[in-house]
Structure formats: C-alpha cells, structure tokens
Amino acid sequence: MTELGSNNMLAALQQLFPYEGWLAKLDAMALHGGARTRGMLAGKRSSSSLGSSLEFADYRPYIAGDDIRRIDWNLYGRTNKAYIRQYWDEQERSFHLYVDSSRSMTAIGEGEHNKWLTALRMAASVGYVALQGDDRVSISLFNEKEVHRQLPMLHGKHAKFTMISRLSESITEASIPSEAIDEAFVEDAGLAISDAAAPFAGGSKLPRRAGVTWIFSDGLYEQGLDSLLSSLQARQQQVVFVHILHGDELAPQLEGEWRFIDIETSRAKEVAMSPAVIEKYKRGVSEFRERLRKLCESRGIGFFSINCSEALPDSFMKLLSSGSYIQYR
C-alpha cells in the first residue's frame, strides 16, 4: 500500500468510523448467524449441509463407495452392521448489505447527521463485523431506478480495506449539495412513482446465494417494498431492515407557510404550519413506521428503527441490546 493510499485509507476510516475506540468495540462483536444456511466455501458458520465439522449430525447405513474411515466401529462391534457417522458441515455465511442511495437519503440532514452518511457508517460497521467474522460481504447501493456500485463478494479480514475505501468513495459521490434546492422544482413536475422493487426487477441484482440481507433505507417508497422483501426471502435471505429517519422528519420544527418539494418526485405541496398540522404529521410518521414494522414482522424480518440525529454508536448499541441481529462473541 502506497503512502498516498494509506493516507486515503486513514481519511476513509475517519469518515466511516469517526468514533474513538469504535473499531475495537466492533471487533468484539459478531453478527448473528440465524438458522443453518448453505454456503459455498468452508467457513465458520454451521451449514445446513453435512460435511466435515466436529459437530455430529446422524448415522446412516454404509453403502458401497463410502469412506470406510468414517464407519463407526464401536457400533459395528455392537450391532454387526456397518454405519457411517455423519457430521454437519461448516461453511461461510454471505452478508448482503443494500444501502438506499435515493435522494431522500442523500439530501436530508446536514453534516454528521446526514441520513446517507449514517446509513453508510451503519453498513460499514455491519460489514466490518461480518468480515472480521470470516463471512462474505457484498455491498450494493440502490435507488428507485437502479442498483449500482455493487461490490463483488468480499471475503477475509483484508477485504475490509477494500470495503472501507469503496464506501468512503460513495459518501461524496452520491451526496447532493444542498444548494441544489432551488425554484426549479415546480408543482407536479414529475409524476413518477417511486418503486422499491423496480431496480431489482429481473432478479439479477438480488443475492444468488442464501445468506443474510441488511437493508439500510428510509423506506420512503410509494410501493414495491413488500415485493422486494418477498423476493429477498424467496432467495433464502434472512432480512434485516434498518429504517433510518432524520430528527427533522420525525418532529419538524416549522412555522409559517411552506411549499414542500418532494426531493424525489419534485412535486410541490403548500402547507400552512400550525401546531395542529405538526401533530397530525407526527401521527402520520408514527403510523408509517408502524406500517413498515408490521410489514417486516409479518414476514419474520428484523426491523430496526434509527434516528440519524442521534450518535451512531448509541443506535448500534440499541441494535446490539436487542440481541437478535448482532451479539458479542
């Protein structure tokens, strides 16, 4: 690694893990494996297939061609029949991290509390833990149109540097300068309906191998979220949905009359603020989150909600304390 490269890496590390001692804490964590799943290569995760681990699975009668070393001779002595001992295989686990790069993610929140930055930091932490655990990690960015910047499957502890540098590149690449807010947005400029399933249409962008899929998104799609989750589950994915919202979205501090421009559809709506309207809005937001939670829970999908106005370690610790997605080794 050149000096320049190491400097870049340091900067990337600073961007993605700005909290002191955070990496050390992540080292002590492991991602929850969930049920036995089939992998491809040998790994540390118990597989659903039988293999050569030390974990006994079952006996079966010897048939011609079996390795005679695996005959349980003690059993043969007692029963005079040849049985073969079978063991569970240990394979690697694939983690697929999908980060929502739609404009609603990238353009909301200033500086440290940007939704997009929070989502990438979250993904980096999860990816880091996965790679440290000898699992495979793939990271993809997606928006309402396409899945892009798909990283090939990373494996091994060294791959974390690749992951970090690629994610830090994504930070600047996808974020939109806030000056872009202008009067160019006119009412009903675009009538496109944001569809979460659209970029995954055809299935080529979906994970091919069974594993765990983490989705980092604000869930602000008008449709397609449930079909996306269904198709992920159909690909034998255990899904964790990390729902990221900004503090301003949860409880806006607004007064007066506003012309709200939907950052994705460019449609404008005029709202005159009042305490009553704010109350109604808050109710609407909590209903929206509840709907998402129910959508996930009804499918056995993990749902975790994050307020990106809070510090990332705090949110991560809450995730940890829930115990179902990540745990200490």
Partner: protein
C-alpha cells in the same frame, strides 16, 4: 340611516392598499423534504377541503377588509333617527326684537303675535307634557320659565311677553338655549325667530347633533321694505329745514311720498306738509325739505306701499338740532387742525398748556367739554386735574409714544355705526401710528373706527358723561386734510355735548343715555308726548338710584326732572328709537336651510333626532380585532 360625513368614504380606497399588500405578500417558502409520503395524511386532509383551505388562507385578509370597512363607516359618522320621548325637555327661544314686533305678516298681525300664538298652540297640541324652558332675547337673554310644566302658567307668561326695541344680544340667547338643552339628557330646541335674527353661520352649525326646530318668520317681500333711515332737522333763524333718507328696493320705479308733521310741546299736531319724489335707482332717496312749519318735534311718515312688510319703520320722529355756542377747554401744546375745525363749528376754544395749573372755577363754569390733546395720562396723575376731568365730557386725543404703538397689520378701516360716525367714511385715510389700548381700557367703550386691526376712535361714557377717545395724534394722519374731518369733528362735538342741551336728541330704547342732570334734580320720570299724551309717569328714577334708562317703547318723550320739593326743574324732549339694525336687510333663512340638520323653516316637525352609531361600530371593531388575533394565534 344618515351619513354625517359622506366624504370620508374616500378612505375606503385603503382597501386597495390592503389587497395589494396581500398580492405582493411573500409566497410560500420552498423547502425540500424527503418525501410527501410522510406528509400524506396532512396533505390529504388539506386537499380534501381545499376551498375551505383557500378561504382560510385569506381569512386574515377578509378580517382586515371588514375592519377597514368598519373604520370607514365610523368615519362617515352614521346616525339613525330616533323618536324623542314625550317627556323631552323643550327649550324655546322666542325672538322679541323690534323686527319681530313690527313686521307684519299677511294676516296683519305682527310676527311676535303670530309666534306667541303658534307657541301657545304648540303647547296645546304637540307638547308632550315635558319640561319647558322659555327664553327671550334682549340686552341680555332672559329665562322667563325654567323647566316648568305648568301649562297655564306658561301660557300666561307667553301672553305677557313684551317686545324689546333696544339692541338684542341674539348670539348669547342662542348659546344659552343650547347650553340649557345640553344640560338635560333628552332635549329639543324650538327657535321662534324672524329672518333678521342676528347670528352667523358658524354659530348655527356649531351644534351639530342637537335637535333644533326653526320656526322662521320671514316674508318674501322683506327686500321691498321701505324705511326712513334718518330724519334730521335744523333751524336757521326762524326757518326750519328737514333732511330725510329713505331706504327702499333699488330699481324701483315709484314715487315716494313723505309727510312731515309738526307737533307742539304737549304732543298736539300743529300742521303737516307732504313731499313727493321719485325713487332713486340706488335704493336710497334723500328728501330735502325747506321751510317746515314751526314745532316742538316733528314726525316724518313715508306713505307705505301695499306690500310693505313693516309699515312701522316708515315713521320717524325728529327734533330740531339746536344752534348753540359751546365752549371747549383744549389742553394742548397746540393743535391747529383741531382749533380751526372747532372754530368752524362755532365752538369757543380756551387753550391751556398741559403744564398749567387747574383753571379757575369761573372759567370752568363756562366750559361744556374738555379736550386733552396728548396730555391725558399726565393730567390724571394730578388729583386736582382729575377731579376737573371727571366732571366734564371728555375728548381724549392720544399721542402714542414709540413703545405704546399698536402693530398695524393692514391699512383697512372698519367703521361701526354710531352717531359720531354718521355720514362718515374713512376710505383711503392713512394713520401712521395708533396707540395700543389694554383690554381694560377698551372694554367699557364702543369701538367706532378700527384701523389696521387697532381701535382708532372709541366712544363711551365716564360718570354718565360722554367720552370720546382718538387713539392717534391728528398730526400722524391725513384725516385733517380730508373733507370728512369737519363732519367728524361736528359729530364728535354733538356727541360730547349731548345731554347738556335742552333737547336730549334721539336715543335707543332701553339704552342708558348720556345725560347731564341739573344740580337740583333728585328724581326724574319720562312722559310720553306722541300718539296718546297722558300723565303717566314712565320709569321714575331717583337720582341716587343710579342711571336713567330710556323708555322701552319708541316714541317721543319728555324727561322731567324734579327737585326734592317735587317741582319741575327741567323738562327735555327725547326721541326714543328702535334698534335700526333690526330693520337692515339680512336673512338667516338660507343659512339655516343650508345647515345640515335643521328642519325646514316654519315647518313644525315633531321631534326626530340623530343618534350616532359610532359606539356600536367601535364595539364591532374590537370584536373583529379579537377574532383576527384568534385566527392569527391559532394559525387556522
């Protein structure tokens, strides 16, 4: 509903300003949000009732427009007519001036009689039984009945009202009526006046919201009124000459007939003589009559034409002006103008320097009046001189020092009617400096001539003796060079010696004349000579009681002075006249009909009055402001 100030409606244009401000108002501020998904519920609700939303958005505008509307309406001063309760306090002002008492309406009754009759019939028919206050004018307004509701008594008082021929103070009477009306909660004022009621427009309009009913007595023929303005007589040796001025409608093609009758001392008619002359186009015709028969007093009568609304003023009495030689004491450093003019008037002048001592009693006994030319202040400081000055009619001519001069704002001259200013005009006369008099010095005297805003000639009395004051030195003016100067001096001398002659001349009814009583007189009374001579003693006065007042009814009278024993000491004849200004052509009828809230003249309307709605509007306004605040606070 009435609008008292319609022009204020222009303020309504301010609505355009408010609307413009709403048009120019800052639009919705743009803000980018992640998605409308989160706002869906709010937006759906807002869109569901969009018309209401739109209305609500403009609610403040509507409220502001309504507030503006209310303010404009309030500025327009709306008022509603209200019926007056029956127990309204009625203030009645009855004009009893000479014009009311002498003008005759078509029935041949005087205005005053008609007014009394109508007032009594108002009490009979329209009066609700409330309190009635009755005021009549005069030198001072008089309250004849104060808040009385005794009808019999009121009728009696009304029937007993006598005309007042002197100078009436009409403005004060009007003010008193209004003051009395405003002191009670519900009140109305009835004015029974004629068109010569002497008030100006500002005073009529001063009280905007009071209920006033004008019962106006006027005749369209008022302009046709013919009258004798002046009638003077003079005697040259044994011949008596007369001079009369007749006022009539201008452009009148008519022959005027003037009859002069001579009477003796007992009021018996001696003889009469008629003069005919065609009317002059200017409206003023003068009769010069030579060789009138001898008599004690004379009466000039103008034969009235058919439509003359006031035959009373077609008659005037006159006394022969006596040719007498007067002696004047002139205290002066020398005043050639005055000396010459006095000599021209046959006035003997005894000159004294201001520094000289008080003259002897012998000299003073021959003097009729004293002239102080620039030395009045100095002389009054000397007690001996002051005593002398107090005993004589006084003619003061001031020589204003530099620090005493009044500021002359313009060179305009105002000449007020007075016997001193008779036949006198002051056009184009220049006075370079006039002494400024204090209010105390001015108050007891009449200002006859005003020059440049300052009083130039004043007349009055001191110790019931005539006093005349010129506030300018004759040398400071071109007046002595004018043709009118001898006339002014003659009038001045006549004024100063009035009351000292055998005849008292003419005086105003009810006036306090300038008189010099005989030293022995202890009591006096008036004795009427004209019409029905009788032995009735009118207004007997003890000398100690104070002033002798002129009789209240015009005519020819003798003032008879009695000594302590009751013997007649002196008997002098006086012509008592009514106030001539009462007959001048002046009409307030137009002023009153032009006034916004006055009723039609002679149109007796049972009271309706204006009640302003401003208080209600203010209450509405406060409610609206409260509503606006609520709208603003809630943000709905």
């Amino acid at each position: 509903m009435h609008w008292l100030s319609l022009t204020s409606a222009w303020f309504g244009l301010a609505a355009l300003l408010i609307i413009a401000m709403y048009i120019l108002k800052k639009r919705y501020e743009p803000k980018r949000i992640s998605s409308h998904l989160l706002w869906r519920q709010v937006l759906q609700e807002q869109e569901a009732n969009r018309p209401w939303q739109r209305l609500k958005q403009q609610l403040l505008l509507w409220l502001q427009l309504m507030i503006l509307l209310l303010i404009v309406i309030a500025l327009m001063e709306p008022a509603v007519e209200r019926k007056l309760a029956e127990d309204t306090h009625a203030v009645i002002l009855l004009d009893r001036s000479a014009s009311m008492a002498t003008s005759i309406d078509t029935d041949g009754k005087t205005y005053l009689d008609t007014a009394k009759h109508e007032l009594i019939s108002w009490l009979d028919k329209e009066w609700g039984g409330g309190e009635v206050t009755l005021i009549v004018n005069g030198e001072y307004p008089q309250i004849l009945a104060n808040q009385s509701n005794q009808k019999q008594e009121l009728v009696r008082i009304i029937e007993d009202i006598d005309p007042y021929y002197g100078t009436t103070d009409d403005e004060t009477a009007l003010s008193l009526a209004r003051a009395l009306a405003s002191s009670s909660e519900q009140s109305m004022i009835h004015y029974f006046v004629d068109e010569r009621y002497n008030i100006n427009q500002e005073i009529i309009q001063a009280e905007e919201n009071s209920l006033e009913v004008w019962h106006m007595y006027a005749s369209p023929a008022a302009a046709e009124d013919e009258r004798i303005r002046s009638f003077t007589l003079s005697q040259e040796e044994r011949a008596v000459h007369g001079f009369a001025t007749v006022m009539h409608a201008p452009q009148e093609q008519r022959e005027l007939e003037l009859t002069v009758t001579a009477y003796n001392e007992q009021g018996r008619k001696l003889s009469d003589k008629s003069y005919k002359q065609s009317a002059a186009a200017s409206g003023v015709t003068t009769f010069q009559m030579y060789d009138l028969p001898q008599g004690h007093y004379y009466m000039a009568r103008l034969t009235p034409h058919d439509q003359d609304p006031n035959p009373y003023n077609n008659k005037q009495y006159g006394l022969i002006a006596e040719e007498r030689i007067y002696e004047a004491l002139l205290i002066s450093d020398g005043n050639l103008f005055l000396e010459k003019a006095l000599q021209l008037m046959n006035v003997g002048v005894t000159k004294l320097a201001p520094t000289s001592a008080v003259p002897s009693q012998e000299l003073l006994s021959t003097v009729h009046f004293i002239i102080t030319d620039g030395s009045y202040e100095k002389l009054t400081k000397d007690n001996a001189w002051k005593d002398v000055l107090d005993r004589f009619p006084l003619w003061i001519v001031d020589h204003p020092a530099a620090d005493q001069q009044a500021k002359l704002v313009h060179a305009e001259t105002v000449v007020n009617e007075h016997e001193v200013t008779q036949y006198f005009t002051m056009d184009d006369i220049f006075i370079s400096s006039i002494r400024e008099l204090s209010a105390e010095e001015l108050a007891p005297h009449d200002v006859l001539v005003q020059y440049g805003g300052a009083a130039a000639i004043l007349a009055g009395t001191h110790n019931q003796k005539p006093l005349l004051r010129y506030t300018f030195a004759l040398q400071d003016s071109d007046l002595p060079l004018r043709a009118v100067f001898p006339l002014l001096v003659m009038n001045s001398v006549d004024y100063l010696v009035s009351g000292s002659s055998k005849q008292l001349g003419s005086m105003l009814a009810n006036a306090i004349p300038t008189l010099s009583m005989s030293a022995d007189t202890s009591a006096s009374y008036w004795h009427r000579l004209d019409e029905e001579p009788s032995d009735e003693k009118i207004s007997e006065t003890e000398v100690e009681d104070g002033y002798v007042t002129a009789p209240s009814v015009p005519g020819v009278y003798s003032l008879i002075e009695l000594n302590e024993k009751g013997d007649t000491v002196q008997q002098r004849t006086a012509v008592i006249t009514a106030d001539a200004t009462e007959f001048a052509t002046a009409s307030i009828a137009e002023l009153i009909s032009g006034s916004s809230n006055a009723e039609e003249p002679n149109d007796q309307i049972e009271g309706t009055g204006m009640s302003k709605l401003t208080a209600w509007l203010a209450a509405c306004l406060m409610l609206l402001l409260l509503l606006e605040w609520e709208v603003y606070r809630r943000g709905i």
